[in-house]
Symmetry: C2
Subunit: 332 residues, 2 copies
């Protein structure tokens, strides 16, 4: 393990690992600030999200490459949820005294792997010592076409609610790591839950297609779970919502895990956080456009789980009985 040395040496080491800057990045990392040519005819999307040791990750359960990957993915997911395409990241590292050069290399491994997958460039960043936890705080920019922006508030009564992928895997994976930890005895389904916790897959292609194709009226990601997302879209859109419990796509590993712990798989899956799936509202007349998005989304499932309603309640319908939607997940 090598000590970090001076800030300048460490910045130089990081810069050497960055791929060549895209031509739009006219002043790349290394000056007081980065300068970029904006995408023509587009609006800009801005977001920030931090990954904090002891709050969002535990070094016993995730490698630092996982941490770096995750810090990028959670930001990109927010941009996709606006119908946008992520383009540039600013990295702010807070490094405890015990951090080694190898630790920084590992963070960058994950960051650059996710950046390559999403065609994102690192525009700049900042290094600081931390007297406490390791923190990777990312700010990300992206672009979206005007009139293609997917806010949370665009839904209308009668719009169908669709969710991508499947739910509960990340929450189940984290619980498994905390309670079990013997990865040799892992089923393939459970291994997938661990991967979803460690390396969340942001639905970037689906988000930008939903924006471009006008298939959706509202969209948000499920970072705090389906229950929270349905409530937020309904509130922002001035509607209520019903969710059909039987239709919710629960990840098979999560269903097995929650059942084995004597818990209700559905309630655990809709309340669990860190599913970076998308919840979208689709008007009846856009059903064909949604099928187009589905076909272009490389096998990603879109499941109809309910609809927005004129009444303001947010309701879970289960075996014909209506009950209030359970509470969501809170990272805070």
């Amino acid at each position: 393990m090598s000590s970090l040395g001076s800030e300048r040496d460490l910045i130089e080491r990081i810069r050497r690992r960055l791929p060549a800057a895209p031509p739009s990045l006219v002043v790349p990392p290394g000056d007081d600030a980065a300068v970029v040519i904006p995408e023509r005819g587009a609006f800009q999307v801005l977001t920030t999200d931090a990954v904090v040791e002891g709050i969002h990750f535990d070094r016993r359960f995730s490698t630092l490459a996982d941490v770096g990957y995750r810090a990028m993915a959670v930001n990109a997911s927010d941009i996709a949820a606006m119908g946008g395409t992520p383009s540039l990241a600013l990295l702010s590292f807070l490094l405890p005294a015990a951090t080694s050069v190898e630790d920084v290399d590992a963070l960058l491994d994950g960051i650059l792997e996710m950046a390559a997958e999403a065609k994102l460039a690192v525009a700049g960043g900042n290094l600081s010592r931390s007297p406490g936890p390791l923190v990777v705080d990312v700010a990300m920019t992206g672009y979206v076409r005007p009139r293609r922006i997917l806010t949370r508030g665009g839904g209308r009564p009668g719009d169908a609610l669709y969710v991508t992928g499947s739910l509960g895997a990340a929450a189940a994976g984290l619980e498994w790591l905390r309670e079990t930890g013997d990865e040799a005895a892992l089923s393939e389904e459970m291994a997938e839950c661990l991967r979803r916790h460690r390396r969340p897959k942001a639905r970037l292609r689906a988000g930008s297609l939903l924006g471009r194709n006008r298939a959706a009226t509202a969209c948000m990601d499920l970072s705090d779970g389906l229950a929270d997302a349905v409530r937020q879209i309904a509130e922002s859109s001035g509607t209520g919502a019903t969710v059909d419990a039987g239709a919710v796509p629960i990840h098979p590993g999560a269903a097995t895990w929650f059942t084995s712990r004597g818990r209700d798989p559905l309630l655990s899956a809709v309340a669990g956080g860190d599913d970076y799936e998308l919840l979208v509202t689709v008007p009846r007349k856009a059903a064909g456009r949604l099928r187009g998005v589905q076909r272009a989304s490389r096998g990603l499932a879109f499941t109809r789980v309910g609809e927005l309603t004129r009444e303001s309640d947010v309701v879970l319908v289960r075996d014909g009985r209506r009950q209030p939607m359970p509470g969501g997940f809170s990272h805070f």
Copy 2:
């Protein structure tokens, strides 16, 4: 003192305090990400900088309003040093368990005061718990006209080196707080040093004027001190530099303080960090344009302290003797 409550309540409390979003911010804080209409005909400037408890501030010496102000000012300074104008900030707060609602209000007091001074809007942010220090991590965007960008690398041999304002005050103020602390016995000069430590004044007007008027070929801010900045501009520009010790504008309070501690005021002032003054290189033919910037800068002093040279050494000339420039300040 009131406890923070839920993330949602705290976000709502913060949002209620934000001034109305400018029309360019088409999706203001509260959705997955913010959406903004880019400035027409401009490039975008991006930067990030964190202010960390125990590293960059000490609650005994600064209020949380000072901390918020400072977190904004240090980012805005980086944008000004590119010849740009800051426009939007993303705020990432890491909050220890003992943080109260009043603490968050105080941070916002300073943030919004600086934002109002600089006509900056808050575009969004993120809240997280911290198992360690309080952190305010800001990412900031601004704009700059193409061909008006001031990098560190644009200087040429023969360009004069100018510095704004005066040096050493922030470093002297911090030392005074650490070693003395009886503010009743404070001279007016020393009180100014404390203010410079607590509420650094970024040279925003000067930076954007220097870019627009083509008065400068290179620019950077003095966050790590004059010695460091001269070395970095010379290195990036492929030149050397000489600095005339007798010309360096040392803040009178800093001169008194460093002398009283038996230290060399010049060496202390050029090595001290946290002067958010600007170092600029000015070609001979732009001397008239620099006078124009000076006149428009509301009394801000521009002092010629040396020049860039063909030889690669970075030299301090003192009483006719040449010596290597001393080392700079490191926050890391």
